[in-house]
């Protein structure tokens, strides 16, 4: 199977199907990434813009990376930043309540509500860049190296931010108790 890098390279020579294949491979992951950060409705609106932005910027893709998913997350992240900037002033405070809100079936919700409230509050206290690295690793299954690549930062910075985020999360009110409970 051709790598993403090869497909992107082919797309630069006129093969549109090659780029569409890259999208097919990663659209589910990028769609969920957007939904976790902006909610499903906004994610659905943003997805097409992310693909266009990726298509337009594919000439700058670093072909030494075989897998394009971190790059697509980066493109999506930039589009999200624009989206957040375009929101009304009253919405500028990061609204982590939309993070990872799902369609949880009602069974078990009671038990989970408190946990989720505590975790969302802890996430809200993180610095934005710490939160981004942490969630890329925890939710999108990226390595810290790929998360750093997605966010356009050196690997060392990514590692430091992840370390800081973990520490801050562990020390956040209520999380310690959850950690104890989850390992009990």
């Amino acid at each position: 199977m051709e790598s993403d890098a090869e497909l992107i390279s082919r797309s630069l020579t006129g093969d549109g199907e090659a780029f569409m294949e890259v999208i097919f491979r990663h659209e589910a992951a990028v769609g969920v990434y957007l939904a976790r950060r902006a909610g499903r409705e906004a994610a659905e609106d943003l997805l097409g813009e992310v693909w266009i932005a990726a298509f337009e910027s594919r000439g700058a893709y670093d072909g030494s990376f075989a897998v394009a998913r971190p790059w697509l997350f980066g493109v999506a992240h930039n589009r999200l930043r624009r989206y957040w900037r375009s929101r009304p002033v009253e919405d500028l405070v990061p609204d982590v309540t939309v993070l990872a809100q799902g369609w949880d079936p009602w069974p078990a919700v009671d038990r989970r509500v408190d946990t989720q409230t505590v975790l969302r509050a802890a996430l809200a206290r993180l610095k934005p860049e710490e939160r981004e690295v942490l969630t890329l690793v925890a939710w999108e299954d990226l390595t810290v190296a790929d998360a750093a690549r997605a966010l356009g930062m050196p690997l060392g910075t990514g590692r430091r931010l992840l370390h800081q985020a973990r520490l801050a999360l562990r020390n956040a009110p209520g999380v310690a108790a959850l950690l104890t409970a989850s390992t009990a």
Binding site: S11, E17, M20, A35, R36, R40, E44, A100, L119, A138
Partner: protein, 390 residues
């Protein structure tokens, strides 16, 4: 990190949103190919009116909470995006009945609400004999209709053995539609009157029922017109003129919309399509709407027979024999012609004796499928489901 994963669950974008996004990309790629004088993208087909685009928009606007929609459409439709450009603005209404019914034919049932068209939608029809035979066989041997609703369990797999989406859809014979991600959620949906039918399904079913014994040209028009489209099927001169005017107004409005212009470019006004684009568009709508009807009301043998008769008239759909879990099945393949020439197909597997849908596979021909949807169709009574008797 494990603890944090508890916040990981999220409702993903709906399948039609992915389709829509790919359409936007496809249009941008097409535009890029046309505007770049240098090395560009491979040429793409002339824009064909794509039902997938309008469908996604329609669903989005009318039934925001209609989860599970898209199962019947299939990801295969998505790559039709490359050709997508024409914005659908109007629902042509068939004009006066001029008697296109075949001699001796009659509507399948009172609920079919036949609305014959005043103009044929295409050249004389050629019918696939295998599908026509199966339709006749179903009507002769499988006319029982127990219960008063079809219960459809749909499981969508993208690239894993674990389904990405599971949905229980209850389509009542009276036209209501209830959905839940779990069977146990249906009683509450019924009790709380969460009927999410949007009227399109009823039109699709009416067209399928009419096709059982009615004139197929008329039935085709009815099925295509279940959704807004620019094809002007069944419209007289005045209706065509009004539709053209609406399309022109929509075109002008689109050009004032920077997002649209960015996605699709400043295309030349097309209006009511003609020739190959018209045929491709009609096939696209006919296939998708018919598959919708089959996957929603597949418990009803009349619906199945009508849909098979309709699909038998789509020349771009091929039929082959196969076996699935030891049972004889038919494979209906809608090739790229159905999707505006885009590199995309959809393969529908149905029971060779009953026509009941079993599986839909969408993707790019010759490559691993991008989406697989399986169906389990049964007949039930609404009262039993409401009482939790599954």
């Amino acid at each position: 990190m494990d603890l944090l994963s508890r916040l990981k669950d999220v409702e993903p974008p709906r399948p039609e949103a992915f389709n829509q996004a790919r359409m936007v990309l496809g249009a941008a790629m097409t535009n890029s190919a046309r505007t770049n004088a240098g090395p560009g993208l491979a040429p793409t087909p002339e824009p064909a009116p794509e039902r997938a685009q309008s469908r996604a928009r329609h669903r989005r606007l009318t039934v925001a909470s209609r989860r599970g929609i898209g199962f019947g459409i299939g990801i295969g439709v998505a790559a039709a995006a490359v050709a997508a450009a024409l914005v659908i603005t109007s629902t042509p209404q068939p004009s006066a009945n001029t008697g296109h019914q075949s001699a001796g034919s009659k509507p399948a049932s009172a609920s079919a609400s036949p609305k014959p068209s005043s103009a044929p939608s295409s050249a004389p029809l050629t019918e696939n004999s295998q599908l026509m035979s199966l339709a006749s066989y179903i009507m002769a041997n499988d006319s029982a209709l127990p219960g008063n609703a079809s219960l459809v369990l749909s499981k969508q797999y993208n690239d894993s053995t674990v389904p990405d989406n599971v949905g229980y859809s209850l389509y009542t014979d009276s036209g209501d539609y209830y959905w839940s991600p779990a069977e146990s959620g249906l009683p509450a949906a019924i009790a709380q009157h969460e009927n999410i039918a949007d009227g399109v399904d009823a039109k699709e079913k009416a067209a399928a029922l009419y096709a059982v014994n009615g004139d197929l040209t008329t039935a085709r028009d009815m099925m295509v017109n279940a959704l807004p489209n620019p094809f002007a099927l069944g419209l007289g001169p005045a209706g065509r003129k009004a539709l053209q005017k609406k399309l022109a107004a929509q075109y002008a409005a689109n050009l004032r919309n920077p997002i649209y212009v960015k996605a699709f470019g400043k295309r030349k006004f097309v209006g009511i399509p003609t020739g190959k684009a018209l045929q491709s568009g009609i096939d696209n709508y006919l296939w998708n709407n018919s598959v919708d009807a089959l996957t929603q009301a597949g418990g009803n043998p009349q619906i199945r027979a009508g849909v098979l008769r309709l699909l038998s008239t789509v020349s771009a759909v091929t039929v082959g024999n196969s076996t699935t879990d030891g049972k004889p099945t038919l494979i209906l393949t809608a090739g790229p012609e159905v999707f505006g020439g885009a590199p995309s197909d959809q393969v529908l597997t149905i029971d060779a004796k009953t026509g009941i849908p079993i599986k839909s596979v969408g993707g790019i021909p010759g490559q691993a499928p991008s989406s697989v949807v399986t169906y389990q169709v049964s007949r039930v009574t609404v009262a039993d489901i409401e009482a939790g008797k599954f």
